[in-house]
């Protein structure tokens, strides 16, 4: 069943490699599968977008990499290799040293990131103190020069979180995520809470980050057009599984999986009337069959799709989970 990850890459180019990951949530007495059969590799200097709707497991994936899953989550199997080390086997103490230091994270809601009784600059100073042993005043100076580069006046470092606008807070979050010069930055819907202009600023900041420091970025979003505009490669998730993975240009030109096709058709283009009807009446309930998880929404669904789950088929450079490409 499991198709091994593309093996032609040598170990040292990959910064993150998730292998056959399965995560379950306990909800009351029932167990719900959040992530299943997920294998993906992110290379150094790569911007990888992970796209999916709510409940597709994309944020669970992000939390799993940092091992900050909620208490009712359980990693059933799999491994998460970061720079050659399995994060899931690391003792908590060593894992803590990686969080925020070698893997940075940017959350969706910037106002939920800051401690309301600490100045924003103190957050950066604290991070540097904890991971690098930098003296607090020095950390504040670093924070000043960091935010200046992102177009924020350096004295704003001494403001409290409630004194900053949402966009400014998110730029602070990015500044904080990169303050320790991490090898990987996970951005979990970093632009969702922002207006379009600020969105673009944040995106260009992330791209700059990769270009200047060679940081790998795992960009999690529900917005396929946004994903295509920033990333090198896109992983599309549906119902906790990877349904398609391809270089962004290939995906834009020729989406293979019926789900990706539907997502792309929903992206509005200039001078084109939109047809949202297709999605309107659809349930986001997953089918109870043992077959393809997308079968109940798929326009090409055949009898086999209901019976048998398709594997992630390797098409050389891209992967798709659909019987159409067998």
């Amino acid at each position: 069943m499991l198709i091994k990850v593309i093996l032609h890459n040598s170990m040292d180019v990959k910064i993150l490699e998730i292998i056959d990951l399965e995560i379950m949530y306990r909800v009351g007495r029932k167990s719900v599968i959040a992530v299943r059969d997920v294998s993906l590799a992110i290379e150094k200097r790569e911007i990888r977008a992970v796209v999916g709707e709510s409940g597709s497991g994309k944020s669970t994936l992000a939390s799993a990499v940092l091992r900050v899953l909620p208490g009712n989550a359980r990693i059933v199997r799999g491994s998460i290799m970061f720079d050659g080390v399995d994060l899931l086997k690391l003792p908590e103490r060593e894992m803590r040293r990686i969080r925020g230091s070698r893997i940075g994270i940017i959350f969706q809601d910037p106002s939920a990131t800051f401690n309301p009784v600490m100045r924003v600059g103190d957050h950066i100073a604290e991070l540097l103190y904890v991971h690098r042993g930098t003296r607090w005043e020095e950390g504040l100076k670093v924070a000043e020069s960091l935010v200046k580069r992102f177009g924020i006046p350096s004295e704003r470092v001494y403001d409290y979180p409630h004194q900053l606008s949402g966009g400014m807070k998110q730029r602070f979050c990015i500044a904080m995520a990169i303050a320790t010069n991490p090898e990987l930055v996970i951005a979990d819907e970093p632009t969702t809470a922002l207006d379009v202009v600020t969105q673009m600023q944040v995106l260009s900041m992330l791209r700059e980050l990769r270009d200047e420091y060679g940081t790998s970025i795992m960009f999690i979003t529900h917005d396929l057009s946004l994903a295509l505009s920033i990333s090198d490669n896109v992983t599309v998730m549906y119902g906790g599984e990877i349904v398609e993975e391809a270089p962004s240009d290939d995906l834009r030109r020729e989406p293979l999986h019926p789900y990706t096709q539907m997502l792309l058709e929903c992206i509005p283009r200039l001078r084109q009337r939109l047809d949202f009807r297709r999605f309107e009446k659809e349930s986001i309930e997953l089918p109870s069959t043992r077959g393809c998880i997308f079968s109940n929404r798929c326009r090409y669904a055949r009898e086999r799709c209901l019976r048998e789950e398709p594997p992630l088929i390797d098409l050389g450079g891209r992967r798709v989970r659909c019987w159409l490409y067998e």
């Binding site: 803590r96 990686i98 925020g100 809601d109 990131t113 401690n115 009784v117 991070l127």
Partner: protein, 337 residues
């Protein structure tokens, strides 16, 4: 607005609150049935003699004049003559206030320490939380005089570790006299290096302070625990964990620093209540404080003494509230003044 201006306006509005409280006190005392003169002279006194005493005490004046006299007395700190003791109330009341302040000081310290320990442990360990809940219920449910009696019985009568009543043994005070500087025996003794008095006063404080401290620590620890759990399950703590901030730092800088804000308000209210005199505790331990003074004065219809006690109580509440507000604005950057 700057912090300095905020503090000034807060302090400036305090007297207004005090005047309102004073007026209400004045009215209630006059409306209350019972006459101080009949209490002093007995119900069968000679009417002519009653008139004479009323004149002497100023009770024959029109009410509005009595009210003006009362306000002037209140703000000059004279409080008039005690009807019962025939000495200025101010001479009677300040030692009582000092005794109450001293008891409050030590009970607050004990309560805050207890609350901190209980709240920190119960927000961190689930098992301890069950015990903490029982602890809180106990502080609500156990009558303070009963707890006082039990402690007296165990530590005073059986074990003989601590004295059961009073502020100090008189013979110690005669052998080692203390000059009243603050009126707080332990502090004065400490300033003068008068160790026998310090130790003896401290021994007298242990049982009443523990009793009071235990009783008010319940509310405090519950408030703190609630606020701690709220802070520790918030998004910014989740974000801090994802940045690899160590748990100890999270507990103090993220949990406690946010939880201390509602805690200070509750603790301030509790301390203000204690400063008004913990009547039951003071009676149980024969503590010569403001609470017992107030009760005795009300029973004797000693208007001036009651008024004085209430004025002081009002001042204390207003001062504590102002201090709490100022502390609050210092520790919570979101407060707009």
């Amino acid at each position: 607005m700057s912090l300095a201006r905020y503090v000034i306006t807060r302090v400036a509005t305090a007297p207004l609150l005090v005047i309102i409280l004073l007026t209400i006190t004045f009215i209630i005392l006059r409306v209350l049935p019972g006459n101080p003169v009949t209490v002093i002279l007995g119900p069968k006194a000679n009417p002519a003699f009653v008139k004479e005493v009323e004149h002497e005490l100023g009770l024959d004046k029109p009410l509005w004049l009595q009210y003006i006299d009362f306000l002037i007395d209140a703000f000059t700190g004279h409080f008039g003559i005690s009807y019962r003791w025939r000495v200025p109330v101010s001479e009677l009341i300040w030692p009582r206030v000092a005794a109450t302040v001293e008891l409050t000081l030590y009970s607050s310290i004990i309560a805050i320490l207890l609350a901190l320990v209980v709240a920190l442990l119960s927000s961190k360990f689930k098992i301890f939380d069950k015990f903490a809940r029982l602890y809180t219920v106990a502080t609500y449910a156990i009558p303070v005089f009963w707890l006082g009696l039990i402690l007296q019985l165990i530590f005073g009568v059986y074990l003989k570790w601590f004295p059961t009543s009073g502020r100090i043994d008189p013979e110690i005070l005669i052998l080692h006299p203390v000059h009243p500087i603050t009126g707080l025996l332990t502090i004065d003794a400490l300033i003068e290096g008068n160790w026998p008095v310090f130790i003896n006063a401290l021994e007298h404080l242990v049982l009443p302070a523990v009793t009071l401290g235990f009783v008010i620590s319940g509310v405090m620890s519950r408030t703190l625990r609630q606020a701690m759990i709220e802070a520790l399950t918030s998004d910014y703590v989740r974000a801090a964990r994802a940045r690899g901030i160590p748990e100890k730092r999270i507990l103090i800088n993220y949990g406690l620093r946010n939880a201390i804000i509602p805690f200070i308000i509750i603790a301030g209210l509790q301390i203000a209540l204690l400063l008004g005199g913990a009547v039951l505790t003071e009676s149980t331990f024969g503590w010569p404080g403001l609470g017992t003074f107030l009760v005795e004065s009300i029973l004797a219809r000693d208007y001036n003494a009651v008024q004085a006690a209430i004025v002081i109580y009002a001042f204390i509440v207003v001062i504590v509230n102002t201090v709490v507000d100022i502390i609050y604005s210092l520790i919570d950057p979101r407060v707009r003044y």
